[in-house]
């Protein structure tokens, strides 16, 4: 079923690496004004619908993220997001691959690789165990000069974005899965290895296209993770964000076992048209909007 959820919300995602844009409503119900956030993805509202018994749902949504503008980024972009009760993230990867073949007009092969294996192949060490100085050395060995990044996840992000990502998906679709638990606050942990979470990313032609989860359904665990993220925000000098109590209530009511994915439609269009930058396929990007 196609759904349409509000762009404006009283709560925001607490992910320290995603900055929401905000605005303010003043009028009936809130005569002194109410701070509202523009959605960074429709995930929370869609999970509320799932908990209310919607069954499988999808939507094409405009989403907004502050501070993101470049060849592959625009602060306003379009996500296709969908949820499948009863499926896990491996089933969903297959469905994403089928959709990609349909959109690109040809059968495209897919391969799957664990996040850990990807790093072991490229650098020869396990990203869950490597010391920060090993991560720094790997960056240097690949000609990346940078300052002190602090958290080890940020070193992993650096190596993923600058060294690994450009090489992914050259021969077909590449799904990377089982991300470090620290990088997947909305996914359930892998019951066979709780150091990793049931998250996947799709890469094609060196471009990150989609992110999916076997969704976390445990309300108490979700609250702990939101609070941990707000704590990280505090440590990095970022503002605290209001936790989405409506989402936590919905999880408490019972989110069905489901997998969900968000796919960047502007980037997909860019690849389909053989373009290298988003501004070639957006009607008006940030600087012309």
């Amino acid at each position: 079923m196609e759904v349409c959820t509000p762009v404006l919300s009283q709560a925001a995602g607490t992910d320290p690496s995603i900055v929401p844009l905000h605005t303010r409503y003043t009028g009936p119900e809130y005569p002194r004004g109410l701070d509202l956030f523009l959605q960074t993805s429709p995930e929370f509202a869609m999970k509320r619908l799932l908990a209310a018994g919607s069954g499988a749902i999808y939507q094409i949504a405009q989403v907004f993220r502050d501070g993101e503008y470049g060849p592959r980024h625009n602060p306003e972009f379009t996500l296709l997001e969908w949820y499948r009760p009863g499926l896990d993230h491996h089933d969903l990867m297959k469905e994403v691959a089928d959709l990609m073949s349909a959109c690109l007009g040809q059968e495209i092969g897919m391969k799957k690789i664990r996040y850990v294996e990807l790093f072991e192949q490229q650098f020869g060490w396990n990203p869950l165990q490597a010391e920060t100085n090993q991560l720094e050395d790997a960056a240097k060995a690949h000609g990346i000069e940078t300052g002190n990044l602090g958290h080890r996840d940020q070193w992993l992000d650096l190596l993923m974005s600058l060294v690994i990502e450009p090489t992914l998906g050259k021969q077909g679709l590449t799904f990377v899965y089982d991300y470090p638990a620290s990088q997947a606050s909305l996914a359930r942990l892998n019951p066979e290895d709780e150091r990793v979470a049931s998250r996947f990313e799709l890469y094609y032609q060196g471009v990150e296209l989609a992110n999916g989860f076997h969704e976390l359904t445990d309300a108490a665990e979700q609250r702990r993770r939101f609070e941990a993220e707000n704590h990280q925000r505090q440590q990095r000098g970022l503002p605290q964000l209001p936790v989405d109590e409506n989402l936590l209530d919905a999880l408490d009511q019972g989110l069905p076992d489901c997998a969900g994915v968000a796919l960047g439609l502007d980037r997909l269009l860019m690849l389909q048209q053989g373009e290298m930058t988003l501004d070639r396929v957006l009607t008006f990007s940030l600087t012309q909007a």
């Binding site: 992910d15 501070g67 990346i144 940078t146 940020q154 600058l162 990088q183």
Partner: protein, 189 residues
């Protein structure tokens, strides 16, 4: 101490890195959907001329290089240094071959150039984007050939060599794009 945040990065911005003034050539924003954003920056060290790449965490601040751009007039060359003058203050500056760089190929007396000063010393000279120079040597071309196809090398009065159409002759003046080192057109006096 003046600083620039990564959000202010753009081509031409001058930063101080490891004590040396550098100019940004390219700046690219890179970010995984869920994860840290970075600015991958290509810079030229203005003292050594070396091109380097640096990656910054987005939102970081970097010290600005205390440099000034001045329009200075080229006076003469004494075999070792090139001399420029500020036409308002009449102050003169001595520039070495390193700071002159490619500009030596294009400029002649009286030309006004953008000169970058660091701690009041010239570290970079940029020739005007377009210059008009006389041809001092080239093979005689075919008379009546105005097609412009093919072309031939021609030596300019500054010593630089550019490709020109066959009809262009010794003694004629041509307009050149100094950024690409390309002939634009003939110029009549």
């Amino acid at each position: 101490m003046a600083t620039y945040s990564t959000n202010e990065f753009r081509g031409g911005l001058k930063l101080l890195l490891d004590g040396d003034p550098c100019v940004i050539i390219e700046n690219e924003f890179v970010k995984p959907g869920k994860g840290q954003a970075f600015n991958r920056v290509k810079l030229r060290n203005l003292k050594t001329g070396r091109v380097l790449e640096k990656t910054f965490k987005s939102g970081e601040s970097v010290e600005a290089a205390d440099v000034m751009d001045r329009n200075l007039q080229y006076l003469y060359n004494d075999g070792e240094y090139w001399y420029f003058m500020d036409n308002d203050s009449f102050e003169q500056y001595q520039v070495d071959a390193h700071a002159m760089g490619e500009a030596v190929k294009w400029i002649k007396d009286q030309d006004v150039c953008n000169v970058t000063l660091w701690n009041d010393a010239p570290i970079l000279v940029e020739a005007p984007n377009f210059v008009v120079l006389e041809i001092t040597d080239t093979d005689p071309g075919l008379k009546g050939d105005t097609s412009g196809g093919g072309g031939k090398p021609a030596t300019l009065e500054t010593g630089a060599v550019v490709r020109v159409p066959l009809f262009v002759q010794i003694g004629e003046k041509v307009k050149v794009d100094t950024r690409k080192g390309e002939y634009i057109n003939r110029v009549k006096d």
